[in-house]
């Protein structure tokens, strides 16, 4: 009832008020360069969702959404330039889609009072909202991913991983090194042996790593890869006949283009996820009617329903929901970035809400608070079916090890606070 009243009040306010500016959602995309294959579907999904809201609903709370796309080429310097050139347009939220850009933007967005959402990437300890007031990484982060993989393997092994060997093949960068600390802690806790195998950028040559895997015969291989590293790793795993069902990638190593080059040999490969796959949702019917068939799809319109398209769509949906929340909290449809931040901090995604939005069972339920900018940290697992060329969710979104991760987040965020003279607090 309260919600209905708020909606009516908001509608009345808008009808009586002056003409409002668009709600601006910059899209720091990369449609060119070595990582374009991953950047294009995400950017398309992000743009298409806002197009749908504009075409079907007349925007968000009656105000049209405007997506300003800026090409970063997955380059940190260009990403910062994009931020500087678009923030004056009334930007409400940034999703830089790069850990490198995220690190550069954390202090800038905080100073400019603009929120940033780094969904499944970026600085993991940003989950601690008392320190990182303007950075959010719901619904899951890299450490949740590491724990999610181990929890899945625990389930597979009757709750006991002692004596098992697990290898981590990772991109030799800040991104790739993110899960190591968590996995080390988890190896102590569960008694498995961990071997970390770095792969240098870009990852086109991985013979040494896979020869070592062949010699050491680990029971499972986890992968933190991106770009060409993913395709080569999956091909090399197939070459040494490593069982694909024992090979699990992080969510950035689990798109269609990661497995397709290896053909049938990639069948059974698994990847972590924080959202569902496919197009079997009511929202896709609306997308088809209002966006795709209307010729308003972003890009070439050929990415609809792919894993990374769905992720872009999900990111846009979470941004739109946070904007609605901000409108509700502040009683105005014409919100600014600061108000958007408040909306993000009060965001609550329930299954009921997801169903209302036309995306039932699409993502985990979670809520955000000032203390917790990372949500409930639920992680699922998908598996590739080479014959049908499709991913399937094989494990529901399950909790991760809050005890281990929480301590690490506390430690890392405290170090950041000390370095930057931040007094952890919630307003």
């Amino acid at each position: 009832m309260k919600k209905k009243l708020a909606t009516v009040a908001l509608g009345a306010l808008m009808a009586a008020g002056p003409a409002m500016a668009d709600l601006v959602f910059p899209s720091l995309s990369y449609r060119t360069g070595p990582y374009a294959a991953g950047g294009i579907p995400f950017a398309d999904g992000y743009a298409d969702y806002f197009t749908l809201l504009n075409e079907r609903d007349g925007g968000i709370g009656g105000v049209m959404a405007k997506v300003i796309e800026c090409e970063t080429g997955y380059n940190t310097e260009k990403g910062v330039e994009c931020y500087e050139s678009t923030k004056g347009e009334g930007a409400l939220i940034y999703q830089p889609l790069s850990t490198g850009i995220t690190y550069q933007l954390i202090p800038k967005t905080t100073a400019d009072d603009i929120p940033m959402h780094t969904m499944g990437y970026g600085r993991t300890s940003a989950k601690n909202g008392k320190v990182f007031s303007h950075t959010f990484n719901y619904p899951a982060n890299y450490w949740d991913g590491a724990s999610g993989a181990i929890n899945y393997l625990l389930d597979e092994n009757g709750g006991d991983l002692s004596g098992k060997k697990i290898a981590l093949v990772y991109h030799n960068s800040a991104y790739g090194k993110e899960p190591i600390r968590t996995l080390e802690e988890l190896s102590k806790k569960h008694g498995f042996e961990l071997a970390a195998l770095p792969v240098d950028h870009p990852g086109q040559e991985q013979k040494s790593q896979w020869l070592q895997i062949r010699r050491d015969k680990p029971d499972y291989v986890l992968m933190w890869g991106w770009g060409v590293m993913n395709q080569v790793a999956i091909q090399e795993a197939a070459n040494i006949r490593f069982p694909m069902e024992n090979f699990i990638g992080i969510w950035w190593s689990g798109a269609e283009h990661d497995v397709m080059p290896a053909g049938d040999a990639a069948n059974g490969y698994k990847a972590l996820t924080f959202h569902n796959v496919g197009t079997d949702y009511p929202l896709y019917d609306d997308l088809k009617t209002h966006v795709i068939d209307a010729g308003k799809a972003a890009g070439a319109g050929d990415q609809v329903g792919t894993v990374l398209y769905n992720r872009g769509l999900y990111a846009a949906m979470l941004a739109a929901e946070a904007a609605k929340k901000a409108q509700e909290i502040h009683g105005t449809a014409d919100i600014n970035a600061s108000q958007m931040r408040d909306g993000m901090e009060a965001l609550e995604m329930t299954e009921e809400k997801m169903t209302e939005l036309g995306l039932p069972n699409f993502g985990p339920t979670f809520s955000v608070t000032c203390e917790n900018h990372g949500g409930d940290a639920l992680v699922g697992v998908t598996q590739w079916d080479a014959a049908n060329k499709a991913w399937t969710l094989i494990s529901e979104f399950k909790p991760t090890d809050g005890e281990v991760i929480g301590a690490l987040i506390e430690e890392d965020s405290a170090a950041y606070a000390a370095e930057n003279n931040i007094e952890p607090a919630c307003n």
Binding site: A36, L211, V228, Q235, H257, M260
Partner: protein, 328 residues
Amino acid sequence: MPDQLIFATEVILNGLMAGVLYALVALGFVLIYKASGIFNYAQGVMALFAAMTLVGIMNGQVPFAHLINAVFGGHITHFGWHIPALLAILLTMGVMVLLAWCVQRFVMRHLVGQEPIILFMATIGLAYFLEGVADLMWGSEIKTLDVGLPQGINLWIDEATFNIFGYGFFIDNLDIVATVIAALLVAALVAFSQYTKQGRAMRAVADDHQAALSVGISLNFIWIMVWSVAGFVALVAGIMWGTKSGVQFSLSLIALKALPVLMLGGFTSIPGAIVGGLIIGVGEKLFEFAIGPLVGGATENWFAYVLALIFLVFRPQGLFGEKIIERV
């Protein structure tokens, strides 16, 4: 035989195979440098462009489809046919010859007699231009390349070594094919540059543009020929690397693997590219095997350059490079 020695032998064999793949990329650099004194920064992008063109032709993809659709409307993407690999390779070679003509006609022709650094800068521009054209022409998505090359473990070697050492060696079938192709390619290129009229003319142009012109050698023809051959080598490298990883934009980064090979083997020697590739391949793999675990791994990229620099201390011109003596 101790286990570590057996493993090291496997690593050496795989290093040799990896070295052949590096050499395939380095060969393209050598050809153009040998003929024109230009360090062709665009060689890696040429491999990418060639591989993308090959996949595009094989799959019947409409070039510049996104652009055409954006300008004229519609949703054309494919012609609806599939071209056999061999024919597609021939057609791609035609495209590479056309590219060579364009490079000569619109870039190199205007820069005859310029300083090498100017020519080098021109190839940097060419690399970025070509990358953009490839993107516009064929799109950015990762494409699967299947020209029928075998991939995966060679079971015969696996079984034979298992019977001898009690441990089956891993050798990738694709690497074996690459080795055979590289050997044939080098033999053909050496024979071409030593025993044919065009090959000798190419070497004459490399020695002195002006002198070659004065004896009636067509600089235009030689440069088109050399860039075409380099385009063919780029196509071979693109096929080998593209089969492994899918054809995607990071293919252009394989040039990074060729630089230490060139430093070590010399910029002007075709056999040098091969020997350099083998030394780099074995050196980096052995170092990663023996020392990598002690220093956290991922040593291959930087160790290749260290190895090349060590060789340069003793032979600044590279193992097979021509010694340049400048008299004062």
